[in-house]
């Protein structure tokens, strides 16, 4: 599965533009800062290109928005991002990032409180149920073993999903199906990003098809 040609072209054009902006801005930078600038510009280029080439123009991917917002949170990126995205775009992204942050704090407090309540309740219930089930299945041995194995598998999957959620930008808010589709989209774009940047490093012409 490859990113569509349209996306690759848009990405490449945007990447060149934003890298030029980064190069301009990073004249007096140290190596590390310059690397960050390159990283930022390529990320923003990816997000912009993906938002631009979407079939439905309003529905930009969650990861793209989150990626831009993540970069926009940092104050020192402001000048560069302004140059890449334009003033209005940056204002929007920064406002979204700030709003998301403030909202997130309040929401996370609330969620933690609620989940504690829910967890304690459901855990107690589950324990009771499992006790009853164990008592019922005590005669028929093997059932409990299988049950625990399944529970272990489920726990493993859950842990993996948690890791994946932290990897995909904006994935903290997603669950299950939407997380997987975001991951799918993100991986395709990330692959394209790596390819194009490799081409830039080598100085060879990328295959845009």
């Amino acid at each position: 599965m490859h990113a569509p040609r349209k996306f690759r072209k848009a990405f490449m054009a945007q990447l060149l533009v934003s890298l030029r902006a980064a190069g301009q801005a990073s004249k007096s930078m140290g190596l590390r800062e310059r690397r960050d600038a390159v990283r930022l510009s390529s990320d923003v280029a990816m997000a912009l290109a993906s938002a631009r080439t979407r079939s439905a123009p309003r529905s930009s991917a969650a990861w793209a928005r989150a990626l831009v917002a993540r970069h926009a949170v940092e104050r020192r990126n402001e000048a560069l991002m302004r140059r890449i995205m334009g003033g209005a775009g940056y204002e929007m992204a920064a406002a979204a990032a700030a709003a998301a942050r403030s909202r997130k704090e309040a929401r996370s407090r609330r969620i933690v409180r609620r989940s504690r309540r829910v967890c304690s309740g459901s855990a107690g219930r589950r324990r009771r149920v499992s006790l009853a089930a164990a008592a019922a299945a005590a005669a028929a041995s093997g059932g409990a073993v299988r049950c625990s194995a399944m529970a272990a598998a489920r726990r493993m999957v859950k842990a993996r999903l948690r890791v994946l959620r932290s990897l995909v930008p904006g994935g903290e808010a997603l669950r299950g199906l939407s997380l997987l589709s975001e991951t799918l989209d993100y991986v395709v774009c990330l692959k394209t990003q790596v390819e194009l940047m490799q081409c830039l490093c080598k100085g060879s012409r990328p295959k845009l098809g």
Binding site: L31, V38, R205, P206
Partner: protein
């Protein structure tokens, strides 16, 4: 009429079935013509058993069609109130849609009921869709799980109107029973007559929801007996039990075909009802809306997982969700690290990060669109002599190089980048000449883009002659046009 693939129909039994049905049709037409109100009678038109008719009308009334007053006196006419909230959920699953799916789902109905009101059915998309969906629904448990029960049920000696009614009743009754309506469940049971036990078993195992009210069953059984019993018997005599079961199968496969076609119709070609997915329950699976939703969700998840599996290299041999997720996580991490590494490399290798000296990076159209922007963006290099960066970057690590002289090295890296240089030398005759002399390179990169143009003017033909880079030449001419 029979829209399914022919292999689904038992070849021997199908013709007999249709023959029989035709006979039924005449009967039904004769019987139904007299005393029913046209609006609903087309759906419910059963002179045979008013109990089921009442149940059906009630079910339909729920869907917005007014019930028939003429059945008000029957014991079933006031069944316990349906669970409306459940109904809402059920409807949530069937988006309003499907004008076109009607014919796919309706063949049986048309077979069985040759009345003039059929077009009403067809005109009513909601009903058509529901019938199609439910018939698809029906076939499933019968096909796999309740093989014993269903042929009996379908191939019940149903003579004309009863058959028609039954089909309808199946639609409605299933609808209701999945929505836990005791009345219609029991009505259906009553209709079933001889295979009552089977039906009960099915009801009990299939959905634990259709609790049959014992009182209503008892009340209806006699009614059914007297209404359809005779015809049942006659049909039995003429066809025989085997034939009946065959017919049942045929009808069932027919209905299944209808369901399948409906599923295909909605899932593949048409865009609008995207949120509707045809779900089929296998044996022992629950059919209430929550479990269906859950199944749809799981299906979607597994589909996404499959796509990811295709995307991530080395993931297609892995079995198990956890391991697959591991692979995916590793891949995403590796990609992210690669991006980091590449940005580091870009930052060191090309400190200025301007790539407009790489015209072949982009196809023409993009470059043209970028061209003016480049000119406006691009600050002219004003620094000192370009370093012969090529040798250093060959020897030392690129990082060390750029650390020592990277910052003040304002010259552009890329023409000096080894790989690129080689490539360009092999391709561009004019760059060959350019990269020979350092001073020339210096002027080349220090001056305005006009210098490029001026240099190119002399070599324009040469470039144009090298057909491998015709596009590069055209690009230069584009620049020329812009500058001149």
């Amino acid at each position: 009429m029979n829209c399914g693939p022919p292999d689904q129909l038992p070849p021997a039994s199908a013709p007999s079935c249709f023959l029989n049905l035709n006979w039924d049709q005449s009967m039904a037409a004769a019987a139904a013509g007299d005393h029913l109100d046209p609006a609903l009678s087309s759906m419910v038109s059963s002179p045979a058993s008013n109990s089921t008719a009442a149940a059906a009308t009630d079910g339909l009334a729920l869907h917005g069609i007014s019930p028939q007053p003429q059945y008000g006196g029957t014991p079933l006419s006031s069944p316990p109130k349906l669970n409306l909230s459940m109904m809402g959920q059920f409807h949530h699953y069937q988006p309003p849609q499907v004008g076109g799916a009607g014919p796919g789902g309706l063949p049986i109905l048309e077979n069985l009921m040759p009345m003039g009101h059929l077009d009403q059915f067809l005109a009513d998309p909601g009903f058509a869709e529901r019938a199609a969906r439910l018939s698809g629904f029906d076939g499933r448990p019968g096909g796999s799980g309740y093989g014993g029960a269903v042929p009996g049920q379908f191939g019940l000696p149903d003579a004309g109107p009863v058959g028609a009614l039954k089909e309808l009743e199946l639609g409605n009754g299933r609808d209701e029973s999945s929505v836990s309506d005791p009345a219609s469940a029991s009505a259906e049971m009553a209709l079933k007559g001889p295979s009552d036990g089977n039906a009960k078993k099915r009801k009990a195992s299939g959905k634990g929801k259709g609790k049959d009210g014992p009182g209503s069953t008892a009340a209806k059984d006699p009614a059914k007996e007297e209404s359809s019993g005779k015809r049942c018997k006659s049909a039995d005599e003429s066809n025989g039990v085997e034939d009946n079961s065959g017919k049942g199968k045929a009808a069932q496969s027919n209905s299944e075909n209808g369901g399948k076609k409906q599923g295909k119709d909605t899932s593949k070609p048409p865009e609008p009802p995207k949120d509707y997915i045809h779900v089929r329950a296998r044996r022992g699976e629950a059919t209430d809306s929550h479990s269906l939703a859950e199944r749809v969700r799981r299906e979607k998840i597994s589909q996404r997982m499959k796509l990811l599996q295709d995307l991530v290299p080395g993931c297609n041999k892995v079995v198990g969700k956890a391991v697959m997720l591991d692979e995916i996580i590793n891949y995403v991490q590796s990609l992210q690290r690669q991006v980091e590494f590449l940005s580091m490399k870009l930052a060191t290798v090309n400190p200025q990060l301007d790539f407009n000296n790489l015209p072949n990076l982009l196809p023409k159209d993009i470059h043209q669109s970028c061209g003016p922007m480049q000119n406006s963006h691009f600050p002219l290099e004003t620094s000192g002599a370009p370093l012969p960066y090529l040798n250093q970057s060959h020897q030392g690590s690129p990082l060390g190089c750029s650390l020592t002289n990277g910052m003040d090295n304002q010259s552009n890296m890329h023409p000096l980048d080894p790989a690129f240089c080689r490539q360009m030398n092999s391709q561009h005759p004019f760059l060959n000449g350019v990269s020979d002399a350092a001073s020339q390179v210096g002027t080349f990169w220090q001056d305005d883009l006009q210098s490029v143009v001026h240099m190119d003017i002399g070599q324009g033909q040469e470039i144009a002659a090298t057909s491998s880079n015709s596009y590069n030449g055209s690009l230069q001419t584009v620049h020329m046009k812009m500058e001149l």
